[in-house]
Subunit: 462 residues, 3 copies
Amino acid sequence: MSKNSSNIMALAPAAPNKRETVCIFGTGDFGRALGHKLIQSGYPVVFGSRSSHPSSLVPKDAEVLSHVEAAQKAAIIIIAIQRQHYSFLTSLADVLRGKVLVDISNNLKINQYPESNAEYLAQLVPGARVVKAFNTVSAWALQSGTLDASRQVFVCGDDAEAKKMVMDIVRALGLTPLDKGSLLAAQEIENYPLQLFPMWKFPIFLSLGLTVFFFIYCVVLNVIYPYVYEKKDFSFFIAISIPNQVCPVLALTLLGLVYLPGVLAAIIQLCRGTKYRRFPDWLDKWMLCRKQLGLVALAFACVHVLYTLVIPIRSFVRWRIGNQIISQVLSSNKTQPLDTSKAWISDSYLALGILGFFFFVLLGITSLPSVSNSVNWREFRFVQSKLGYLTLVLCTAHTLVYGGKWFLVPSSYKWYLPPIYMLSLIVPCAVLVVKFVLIFPCLDNPLTQIRQGWERNPRYSQ
Amino acid sequence: MSKNSSNIMALAPAAPNKRETVCIFGTGDFGRALGHKLIQSGYPVVFGSRSSHPSSLVPKDAEVLSHVEAAQKAAIIIIAIQRQHYSFLTSLADVLRGKVLVDISNNLKINQYPESNAEYLAQLVPGARVVKAFNTVSAWALQSGTLDASRQVFVCGDDAEAKKMVMDIVRALGLTPLDKGSLLAAQEIENYPLQLFPMWKFPIFLSLGLTVFFFIYCVVLNVIYPYVYEKKDFSFFIAISIPNQVCPVLALTLLGLVYLPGVLAAIIQLCRGTKYRRFPDWLDKWMLCRKQLGLVALAFACVHVLYTLVIPIRSFVRWRIGNQIISQVLSSNKTQPLDTSKAWISDSYLALGILGFFFFVLLGITSLPSVSNSVNWREFRFVQSKLGYLTLVLCTAHTLVYGGKWFLVPSSYKWYLPPIYMLSLIVPCAVLVVKFVLIFPCLDNPLTQIRQGWERNPRYSQ
Amino acid sequence: MSKNSSNIMALAPAAPNKRETVCIFGTGDFGRALGHKLIQSGYPVVFGSRSSHPSSLVPKDAEVLSHVEAAQKAAIIIIAIQRQHYSFLTSLADVLRGKVLVDISNNLKINQYPESNAEYLAQLVPGARVVKAFNTVSAWALQSGTLDASRQVFVCGDDAEAKKMVMDIVRALGLTPLDKGSLLAAQEIENYPLQLFPMWKFPIFLSLGLTVFFFIYCVVLNVIYPYVYEKKDFSFFIAISIPNQVCPVLALTLLGLVYLPGVLAAIIQLCRGTKYRRFPDWLDKWMLCRKQLGLVALAFACVHVLYTLVIPIRSFVRWRIGNQIISQVLSSNKTQPLDTSKAWISDSYLALGILGFFFFVLLGITSLPSVSNSVNWREFRFVQSKLGYLTLVLCTAHTLVYGGKWFLVPSSYKWYLPPIYMLSLIVPCAVLVVKFVLIFPCLDNPLTQIRQGWERNPRYSQ
């Protein structure tokens, strides 16, 4: 019986002014939200439920029937049930034969089960055509209507026709389906919503590690050193002064690390004389997380800017400036002439920092998805490469001018340790020097040729 | 005659290298812009116009004919005419029979007419298949090409085939159609472009009300009180000092109000022992506008930051600091030692404020549509919940440290009124205390179970 | 032979659980990236290559065959070869007959060849159906998966069926195809990825020109003048003081230029008594780059804010304030009373500037593509027009209050030149005055009528 009804559903074309019925097993949050959305888009929806008296939260226009009755009414059945309750579906094998079963389930942990939920479902109901879909969309997002068409819904399955039917539903809901191939991809699709910023892990752990290192370095130089030698309590430097040294150092170092892999890749390509060989794995991974590294660097730069701008409001700074003026009055009893070179240095490093920060923020804005989607490849490269190097040059110059005069003063090396801003200059200066060398025509020309496909020792040509 | 031509159009497949002709009634702004775009996408376009000599602004590649002639040439007719001129279409009933009429009209006011324009059109020309579409897209957006594929075009209609034809045109123009169901949805679709930030109304009126209240409160305490008792004119506080007290108070209160409904919902669910009952209406509405409340709070926080950073530039502040130094010189004739505990307090609340503001801005960035679309549900919850509470804790601590020492000082209660920052602590502290209680396992475990579907008094199980 | 196989491919429906094979000529970066993505989406992929031993970088699941063999296996052949190597395709004319050839090539310069690459390909292989597509997508974007569905892929071609086949592939990859019509559009599509911010050229060159002019103007007044008359070296003003005069002047002038064309258009429409005549070309172009002008103005405003906020940190400013206090101590030996009117002016222009900047940033945020896509036309106009004029009024008031008292003081006109902020007021004040006049009902009513289609001398009515 069920077999026939299924065939009839699949073969008989829908009446011209009606969409095909969709069946949903389960009346939980997601089932109800999806049902609601489907009804809005003109699909007749029937819920399959164990209970005969439906919850008051089920959409009004939907029918609620037993599982068997509901399944008979539709060619597509959305399984909005948790995996551990799938087993009862085996008893419905007859009714489900030939139907399209849409697995929308998610797990609580990555790789919780040996096989994906969708593959498990396909084993349980071998006669059905299983499609994985919708698991990356949340009930909340469906209800609140915050999704726009740029939201991709991953779909996979072994049966192309079944997949097409599901993708049509996805499109009818105003979303964009993305075919991820056969049901083997289900494991990956099920893991996707359980990920927590996988691309950000390396940049964030790297920056946390560097933060701890530089923080301790600064505490030693700025709090412990004066306490040991001068018995002065500068512990309150921990709140603002030291973070304001650590943040710019991290911002500059991470910004240097964004451009370092590009320079390394150029050197490797020049040495090998071809671009048709894979880079080492670590370099590939590094290059893929440059955007995240850059954004973390920008975050440190933003905090540095805020810490710098509150300086004049700090109680300590007001006390110090007041005391300087008072000592001057008491000692000399006259005003001092302006030190023009000091004014030049102070204004220059502030101006360089402001311009560097401005271009840095521009880079950050162009890495917003909607902005980077609206520029073409040449524009994107112009911003990320040309403006990026300009930012690096400006920020490096900012640090050089700021610390410049102390490089050769022995007293700035407490306990033989260099001031922290000198450490921050290592990576960016190295990148800029190598990049400068690579600009020379004798290196730039072969590199350009290699990147256009030329090979020093050609293996084959297309 | 028209009947035949219509059928021929509908049945005869288009030549392989040509799209179907589209007819547009009306040569106004929108008709011309749409015609232009259709021609670009390879559709032959014919305009129907009363006038035989067409406007010079009509796209060159389009034909301009009388209404009857134009309608005969196409299966789809886009009605780019205002509703009050629809009546002449009744005279074309024969030609329009079986055609797809696309109603793109908008009204000037919400619910201006008893029935939607599309339903009115369907009544006027009963033989035609009316589809509502394109009314949410503006002529200007079509012309300037600022639309990308994430722009959804709402479509509704009673005839599925007609709707499909229109949706194909929408897709060919590079936009994404969203099926909103039958023609009954036309009223809602027509009201959509007339809305003015409906989700923002409550947060904005609430914050305006609170702003007025706190502003007057501050004026009384900071301007009127010193005028009455000390005859001092501090009226200029109205420009910066008082807004800079009101803004942080509003930012903190509104941020607390963002997290209050979540806490209330948890309490309600715990009491009821189930999640399968609707929340009270006011709580549902409150939860839906949390994002907007948060963004308004962020706006106040941004203004607070700017007001704080300009403090050292203010003429009044420079005068006060100068006078303090001068009095110190004149009275004591020596410098003062550093008050370390004062430095600690000053630096701590600044550092807490900066970090709180930083995470607040991060929250704001992740609520940009393109960013929130590119994270998965777990990441979105992590940011909005974990980072959100971190922000709330930091900002509350910022306020506590700022005002801390004055809580027990009677002189800070002018006219028995507490200083304004104490008022701002009420909501966030209440939220944080309840949230802290809810974290205890004896409450957290049942809550987690309830949210996974468990019921204390189960009505039915799926 | 090839003819037959082609027909078989085109006619025989694909097996239900398999997509059609796609052939890719060329194993370069883009060919491999596209092949990889196609395999992910379930397409069998076969590469055509001169070399029998394939590169190790070719996706594993793809077959690599000779060009002839590969072409026979698929109905769609993607030509991932540079234009200068196209000529060998003539030898494959038999195999390629009836096939869909997808031209994905780009040039190095705009209009490098007389005809587009796609048209050249169509001439070389007259029996094939050529479609232009994918050239706007980069290999890097395909690989890194940073594309979402809002990314439009431009498609054009003379054969509608072939175009549809290609557009289906585009959709299967999760992207959105945009039909640009016949193969004549290929030239435009090929030029698109070679453009470098075409809409930004005019605003950026205009602002660069104005920057140079105002910078020299300021150097003359602030550095050369005191050097000539007072022998004082203020050359360090070039770093911060002068940029901080130039930036606000440019921000205000450019913001005025954003609203000037709208005012001019209103005057033209009032004079002509109709909206059905084209504006002059320069006005049309001006109106199209208003968004870019506004964003450049916002950039200058941001830099101005940063330059202003670092003022108290500058060495020069600290020296000046310290000296003022010291002179006061030495000369008068007592504190000064507060100058309330000075405090009022200082606080007012700071407050006006902060509010103006806040609304300016709001305007900037709403012009982000994803934000402007999620508001409707009425909301967009409300923000851009109402909030925009509010910003203009606030920023103009900020400048007026700042410079107010010096307008009538002759000593502020060094060398008979007015201070620079007076120049910045010309455009915005002109715009505001005209806009104010246009609000009067005697002008506003006819203008509203004209914009709704009314004509003083009607030519024709619809």
